[in-house]
């Protein structure tokens, strides 16, 4: 146990779990307010288990079930990208995959990617994934029963905690100038896209742009290297 708590990824995962889990109170309260029963609200947290999509689902229910389904599904597409990366990084065995898929969310992905080395990444993923699931469901339950008695979670600064947590998870990756530049560019693009695209899509757009930039730069770099090595070029005849 002391071994586990000595792991930076586990401690990071626990911090993330508490910060995110507490937000479940607001989901529980909002779910009941939106007209779901307490158990329907709880089912979304246990089964859908991807916060953004859950809020989108209850927020779009006014437009009917199909609107709620569309909004939640669109917002969840990013989880497929996370899944592919977790799968490539941690290469889990067959039977574990469905379980890992269920706990693949912003927080478990980000905690895994922020950790150093295979074992730490694995610990980070599981701690944040299982930790958020447990606390998110516990606090959804509390929120659905106690309702709005606790007040607005914003007054407790919980949205500020989420901002700080994601910046903390990004931070270790910004050591090079290139990485920092890419991060700033993607953040800007995301902010610009927010008013024009449904929630969840700006994030995918930033990911797509990053991959395209990466591919273009890689190609021009390869070309430069090829030109330098070209035996028919001037370089070879200087001597």
């Amino acid at each position: 146990m002391t071994d586990l708590l000595g792991s930076p990824a586990v401690r990071m995962g626990l911090s993330v779990s508490i910060a995110t889990g507490l937000y479940g109170i607001s989901f529980g309260a909002l779910g009941v307010t939106a007209g779901l029963t307490r158990w329907q609200t709880q089912a979304l947290s246990a089964l859908m288990f991807t916060g953004g999509s859950q809020f989108a689902f209850i927020g779009s229910l006014g437009g009917g079930g199909i609107a709620a389904l569309a909004a939640a599904s669109l917002l969840g597409i990013r989880n497929a990208v996370y899944g592919a990366q977790i799968n490539a990084t941690l290469t889990p065995r067959g039977p574990l995959r469905p379980l890992m898929a269920h706990i693949t969310i912003d927080e478990s992905f980000a905690t895994a990617m922020a950790a150093d080395g295979d074992a730490e990444q694995r610990r980070g993923f599981w701690t944040a994934g299982v930790g958020v699931w447990l606390l998110w469901n516990l606090f959804t339950f509390v929120g659905a029963w106690v309702g709005n008695a606790m007040g607005d979670p914003k007054m407790w600064g919980l949205d500020g905690a989420a901002v700080a947590a994601f910046l903390g998870l990004l931070w270790p990756r910004l050591r090079s100038k290139d990485a920092a530049g890419l991060a700033v560019l993607c953040a800007l693009l995301t902010v610009l896209a927010v008013p024009f695209a449904p929630p969840g899509i700006p994030l995918l757009l930033a990911g797509l742009v990053a991959v395209v930039i990466h591919l273009i730069r890689r190609r021009s770099f390869d070309k430069r290297v090829d030109a330098d090595c070209d035996p028919s070029g001037d370089v070879g005849t200087v001597r």
């Binding site: 991807t50 689902f57 497929a80 700080a164 994601f166 910046l167 990756r173 993607c186």
Partner: protein, 103 residues
């Protein structure tokens, strides 16, 4: 379909979406190109998460106490404070902003 029906269908879609990533052929993921692109993708997704969590309010942009939380977290990280301290500082600064009457 009943509300329960929509909840179960939407949950099934959410799970299937998550699972798709795990079912991609391993050969695709082993290639060197994927590894390098994946690192760029991770930075992009994380910085987009920071951006939406700070500035997005549904589909609108908002400047509120979360911006103060972002700045405070940035300073805390620059001073190399531990992760938990960074998260607590982010929450405290946003809560103080609201206490001071900011949105």
């Amino acid at each position: 379909m009943s509300l329960w029906g929509w909840i179960l269908v939407a949950s099934a879609v959410a799970f299937a979406t998550k699972l798709v990533g795990y079912l991609l052929p391993a050969a695709w993921l082993d290639s060197e190109g994927f590894g390098r692109a994946s690192s760029a993708l991770t930075i992009a997704l994380l910085s987009a998460l920071v951006a939406t969590n700070t500035f997005a309010s549904g589909q609108a942009l908002a400047l509120d106490s979360r911006v103060l939380a972002l700045a405070a977290a940035g300073i805390a990280l620059w001073r190399e404070l531990p992760f938990l301290a960074v998260v607590i500082i982010g929450a405290a600064v946003a809560a103080l902003g609201r206490l001071a009457g900011l949105p």
